[in-house]
């Protein structure tokens, strides 16, 4: 846990750590994008490319014993919280050595040993689960927190308001981390969302901030304040991180969409604000790292990704019997 002093500016170690994590997510997902195009993935993938600073800035403030829930776009949350890329890739490949033994796939990557309750295919599905985990955390009395990552689209699900209410009433150590990436599936956010999301949380008296979700330090600061508040028993916080998904909603969309729903210029605008590029520039200009150091990080990551890819592709097919074992209701 970070002490009060650390809160305003991340240390060099933390910055590098975050850089590495963000780049890992990026490279893993670029690989997945290739794999998808090559027809190697059995299922669909929703990529997090462009949003990495949100998960990483948040999770840098968390320990393994803290809980997180993710979304359908959940690889970044998993990796940011310290999930191992190898079994994640194997999972997406549907293999027995996957983190969920091939039973869940991309939309359900989870690692309870790291506090990763998991991605979720139901939009808004993580909110109430997180509130439940936060209740458990509160009862445990060990200062854990529970963080829900959810999209701007999910913020229109009623369960968002319900959990704002119950987490406030019960002073749950819960953090609402809303990733406002400008789209709710294929709908521009403002066409499906009235008002400003932080105002919804403020109506419950919940401290709420909007941060530049492509600036990992900004996210990290807001996350730190929210985590402190939760750990000290003061209840929930809401953070809206403004960001953008560079890839499509789902990699397969090019195959099934007949129209377009956004302009190339818009994507380019956001590419210019790439969170990894920005952190990289900051690391270099502040002297925290030089090109060589960053190149070394990158080559390490590339090895990690290659090893993970290898691990996934050489994994055994999922064990079919497991389906029956895990779903057994003890039928006599």
């Amino acid at each position: 846990m970070t002490s009060a002093n650390d809160k305003n500016i991340p240390t060099a170690r933390q910055l590098l750590d975050m850089y590495e994590r963000m780049l890992l997510i990026r490279r893993v997902e670029k690989q997945l994008s290739e794999d998808f195009k090559a027809g190697q993935l059995p299922g669909a993938v929703h990529l997090y490319v462009g949003q990495e600073a949100v998960a990483v800035g948040m999770c840098e403030q968390l320990d393994d014993s803290d809980w997180i829930t993710g979304t359908h776009r959940g690889h970044g949350h998993y990796l940011a919280k310290g999930g191992d890329p190898k079994p994640m890739l194997a999972e997406i490949y549907g293999r027995a050595n996957g983190i969920c033994r091939g039973m869940g796939g991309s939309m359900h990557v989870a690692d309870f040993s790291k506090g990763i309750v998991g991605a979720n295919g139901i939009v808004g599905g993580g909110l109430a689960i997180t509130a439940g985990a936060a209740l458990a955390a509160k009862l445990d009395g060990k200062n854990q927190v529970a963080v829900c990552f959810f999209g701007d689209g999910a913020a229109n699900q009623g369960v968002f308001m319900e959990t704002l209410n119950v987490s406030t009433l019960w002073k749950l150590p819960m953090i609402f981390m809303c990733e406002h990436n400008t789209y709710s599936e294929f709908s521009p956010t403002d066409t499906v969302t009235a008002g400003e999301l932080p105002d919804r949380a403020r109506a419950f008296g919940i401290p709420s901030t909007v941060v530049d979700g492509n600036d990992v330090t900004e996210v990290w600061k807001a996350a730190g304040a929210a985590v402190d508040r939760a750990r000290s028993g003061k209840g929930p916080s809401f953070i809206e991180a403004r960001t953008y998904r560079i890839h499509g909603h789902i990699e397969a969309e090019v195959h099934f969409l007949t129209g377009t729903y956004r302009e190339e210029e818009e994507i380019e605008h956001w590419r210019q604000r790439d969170p990894i590029d920005r952190l990289r520039a900051q690391l270099l200009s502040s002297g925290v790292a030089d090109e060589a150091a960053l190149a070394e990080i990158d080559s390490g990551i590339q090895e990690t990704v290659a090893a993970a890819e290898q691990y996934a592709q050489t994994g055994e097919p999922a064990d079919e019997k497991l389906v029956f074992d895990l779903m057994s209701v003890g039928q006599i």
Partner: protein, 323 residues
């Protein structure tokens, strides 16, 4: 052994289990004051670290149960009337039933969901549903429908101590009925039907609220010289398929009685099982006495036309046996 009321036994059992295991927690709407009497006194005994009155937000209540259970607690969630399960259905169907498989077995979900069910009190369509067919179809959820105080105790203990999401559906309309309940601590295993009356002429398979009219029908029939075997499933998931088939093998005739709407009911499932595994013993069609595919009307006469009763069961048996 002592004679106790159904709801009183549920109340005592909840308290015993909360005493036994500090990880057991309970929440729901107005559970502190208790609508049905099953959660009375728990607040006084355990305080607000173990029991909470929740806001009205069923979608969140079911989802929170998943999160709290995944994070290590044994959750008892009271949903009041069964129709409100529909309001909280998303997390039941999409999370509770599926999370264990989706995570490759990383998580256990020791959740007991309590809800009252059934008609007969003129509560009209939105407070009278029999919800187990939809729960049975989801997979991954256990369903108990205790008909007697003794079974309520044993099945509830088994539900709470078990590691799977379990729906414990209360026959609320019968909450005041008495029955002998053993004093000692015991659990009743799921998936074992109980034979309430032995007989060789016909099997009446039933569950929950319908056990009482089925037993009454059994008595009426025996006065007419027809020996009915009355089988109470006690749990619907798992279902004692072998026990049911065994009885049918003895009698060759079967009537399934269920307070659910007919289409895709527990009765239909049981009939299908018999038509498969018990086929060679069958000497007559498998009959179902169920609620027709309608919403529950309010007016008492209309409601009574819809709910199966001893007379309908008896006449169905008589027609089946050609007597």
């Amino acid at each position: 052994m002592a004679k106790k009321r159904y709801m009183q036994v549920i109340n005592e059992t909840l308290i015993e289990e909360m005493e036994r295991d500090p990880k057991v927690i309970l929440y729901g709407e107005d559970v502190e004051i208790s609508m049905f009497g099953d959660t009375i006194g728990i607040l006084d005994r355990f305080g607000r670290d173990r029991i909470w009155n929740s806001p009205i937000c069923e979608a969140t209540l079911t989802g929170m149960a998943v999160g709290a259970a995944a994070a290590g607690y044994r959750v008892i969630l009271h949903m009041m009337f069964s129709n409100f399960l529909y309001t909280g259905f998303d997390a039941i169907a999409n999370q509770m039933a599926k999370l264990r498989l989706m995570t490759g077995g990383q998580v256990k979900l020791p959740i007991t969901v309590l809800a009252g069910y059934g008609a007969g009190s003129c509560n009209a369509a939105q407070h009278s549903d029999t919800p187990y067919p939809v729960l049975m179809n989801l997979g991954g959820l256990r369903v108990a429908v205790p008909a007697t105080p003794a079974d309520a105790k044993g099945l509830l203990k088994e539900a709470i101590r078990g590691d799977m999401p379990t729906f414990f559906l209360e026959a609320v309309g019968r909450g005041g009925e008495m029955g002998e309940v053993p004093d000692e601590d015991y659990t009743t295993p799921f998936g074992i039907a109980s034979v309430l009356q032995e007989g060789k002429d016909v099997t009446i398979v039933t569950m929950g609220t319908m056990v009482k009219p089925a037993v009454a029908a059994g008595k009426m029939l025996s006065e007419q010289g027809i020996e009915a075997e009355v089988v109470d499933c006690r749990t619907l998931v798992p279902l004692d398929e072998d026990g049911i088939v065994r009885s049918v093998e003895k009698t060759g005739h079967v009537v399934v009685v269920d307070e659910a709407r007919d289409r895709c009911s527990a009765a239909s499932q049981i009939a299908a099982v018999i038509a498969d595994k018990g086929f060679h013993a069958l000497r007559a069609p498998v009959k179902r006495v169920t609620v027709p595919d309608v919403s529950m009307p309010y007016a008492p006469n209309a409601e009574q036309v819809v709910i199966p009763n001893a007379e309908r069961i008896t006449s169905t048996v008589q027609a089946l046996l050609g007597k």
